[in-house]
């Protein structure tokens, strides 16, 4: 199929999608209406269970099974990143023993910012996880902050320190532990918001560390590959 035909097929389809959405927009409810069927139900149920944060109540209690599924998606994605981004035979051969993991040249300002922000960001992550049952935030959001915080070291260019702080097998096991604990808590029943938030934070944080680690590894590998081809 030529580029033009492909674009034509897509354009016809996209136009059709637009028309479908316009058709779906007839008889919309009035702006600012008072009809909020789900909101009312969810809030009433949360208050009946004496949960202060309705969003957490929906996530970890009322629709906990969805959250289990989403957790497992993240878990499976991290496993997938570990498997699919493993160093495959071909790359190992081409690499010819040359690693590019030493400290890199970065601006001093960047280096300083990274080192200073690392503890602060970790603290913010813990805070967001710990207060998930009270205020906006929770395990998912806090976990992402925690997982990315470690990679501030990547910005500083201090790859050896990053590798020491982030032993991949430990994070793999911790991730599995978090996911398993969450499934068990989910089965155990309602009202366990604080432990649930914590294990979600653990799982999400570790999963992000794993995924980012694997991607950075690939990026570094590619760089050494490039160097190899230039030499030859």
């Amino acid at each position: 199929m030529s580029r033009r035909t492909r674009f034509a097929v897509f354009a016809v389809g996209a136009a059709g999608l637009v028309i479908l959405f316009v058709l779906a927009a007839f008889r919309l409810p009035d702006f600012g209406g008072r009809f909020h069927p789900y909101g009312e139900r969810a809030v009433t149920s949360a208050i009946a269970e004496k949960t202060k944060n309705v969003v957490s109540s929906v996530n970890f209690d009322q629709r906990a099974f969805d959250t289990v599924g989403e957790e497992l998606i993240l878990f499976a994605s991290a496993l997938g990143a570990v498997i699919l981004l493993r160093m495959v035979r071909r790359e190992r051969e081409e690499e010819a023993g040359e690693h590019g993991y030493g400290p890199a040249d970065v601006f001093d300002a960047l280096r300083l910012t990274g080192y200073l922000l690392l503890p602060v960001t970790l603290l913010v992550g813990v805070y967001i996880v710990a207060h998930g049952h009270l205020s906006p935030g929770g395990g998912f959001q806090g976990g992402v902050v925690l997982g990315t915080a470690l990679h501030l070291l990547y910005l500083t260019g201090d790859y050896p320190a990053l590798a020491r702080l982030r032993p991949v097998p430990v994070f793999e096991s911790a991730e599995a532990l978090g996911a398993g604990a969450f499934v068990v808590l989910g089965l155990a029943g309602a009202g366990l918001l604080i432990p649930m938030n914590s294990v979600v934070g653990l799982e999400v944080g570790c999963a992000f560390v794993l995924v980012l680690a694997k991607f950075f590894e690939q990026a570094l590998l590619v760089r050494t590959d490039d160097a190899g081809t230039e030499d030859s």
Binding site: M1, A24, R63, I83, L84, A176
Partner: protein, 583 residues
Amino acid sequence: MVQAAIAAPVLIAIMLAAGGRRLPRPVVDAVATGTILAVTVLLGIVLATALRHPVVTWLGGWPPRGGVSVGIPLVADPMSAGLALLVAVLTLAALVFSWRYLVEVQAIYHALMLLFTAAMCAFVLTGDLFDAFVFFELMSVIAYVLTGYKAEEPRTVHGALNFGVINSLGAYVTLMGIGLLYARTGQLNFAAMGARLPGQDHRLVTVAFALVCTGFLVKAATAPFHFWLADAHAVAPTPVCVLFSGVMVELGVYAIARTYWATFAGAVPGARPALAFLGVVTALLGGVMCVLQRHVKRLLAYSTVSHVGVILLGVAALDHDSLAGAAYYLLGHAGVKSALFIAAGTLLNRFETLDERELHGRGLRLRASGAVFLVGGLGLAGVPPSGLWAGKAVMDEAAQRAGWWWAAPVGVVASALTAGAVLRVWLRVFRGVGPSGGGTAEHEDSETGPRMSRLPWTMLTPGVILAGGAVLLGLIPGLLHGVSHAAGLFVDHDGYVSAVLSGGAWHAASAPLHPWTAAGLVGGAAGVVLAAVVAVLGLHQPVPRILRPVIDRLRAAHSGHVGEYAAWLTAGVALFGLLLFTA
């Protein structure tokens, strides 16, 4: 009980992922297989219970109060419980086959297979549209990883990437549809959403149905959403193909049927012709593409496309008997196709190639695999008393009553083309018939590692049992009755809604099915005879000149270019919407 069947494989998978690398491989195999065996038993009990009385479980203790709930139910009716059991049985076969076949894989492979099983079971058992979407995503993510497992080869990465991109696009469209429905009804539960549809604008309802179904149609590999399937099947490890073709793809059709009857029943008049049109096109296109392949796995993949088209056509009649026929057909197809993939895996293991011409006459000594190919080919052709034959006879009778005289011939053509291709492979590879030569000497990874002196029983028995069972399915009278009962409950919208939302009774009148009719036997015979003709012609005749431009065009359309696939997907959504509004 139902929760345990989902939670057990998840927990074991997590443990295997955490500590499996320290365990020796036989222990990992035993743990994974034992878990799935336990899940199979559990789901068998669930099915037996559901046959007496469907079971609705509200998770986390949030039962509906006054007909509304904020929680998520698992609904085990005979259809969903039966499909979950099929998932478990096929996983069991795939894992046993993997013992000696995938020697190089580690515990993460087993963890992923267990998670995959749990995801598929949760997907069929849930009674909540958004929850179904979550597990649709989980199942897809795992499927991408399993497809790309042999990431050493660029082809594998290409196939897995196409699969991932197209399925994710489909999932986005489904999510948009869920959003539309949720915004207007404030509900995510199938039953509760359906209860609020009557007052809604019919255009909104139709658009939402089109969008929600798109992701499921992509999963079901319905034309023009089918392009990913062959690319993914050609590169995925063989045990994974067993699960993909045997049941994952069919779950797309199940989801469409579930969404229709639980939520949209009667609200989308265009659904019948629109789904029937897509089913017919898919059945025929898949059949033609199947005959044109010479890579055995790719050939089997297109045959799946074709047969799932037939199943979609059976569902599209939106009628009790036809749905029962489709379910029976699905069961028969699952057995036959899984067995064929396993047999293809033994070929790859022995000869490191799946090129049909390269394999000419080399399978003479592989008696068990040859028998599976012969029986599988005949099963696909619809030889009585195979499950495909019984299902098709029942579907055809229902179609005849509805005035769809063309449905039976479409089914026969699909059977003849796909079975003809498989029988051609049997003749050429296992009997050495026809001219030799013309093969490409391109070798594939044998997936096994060091060569074994002979094939172990773990690589033969699952295929033989599955193929044998599928061919005898039509003889089990209790099964025919059970499937009819399951379909009767499935199409009872009011019963579903009252059982889920208020714990009401859910009974259905089920009429016994009769596949042993004159028309059914004629259909079966026609399928077998035509398949034999296709097979023999395929051995000796090149494609007639007059058809060449068309066929070249078809081949060119299945290019492997993911941008083209995405363009077709977009156009497909528009086409489906147009059909729903105009037909």
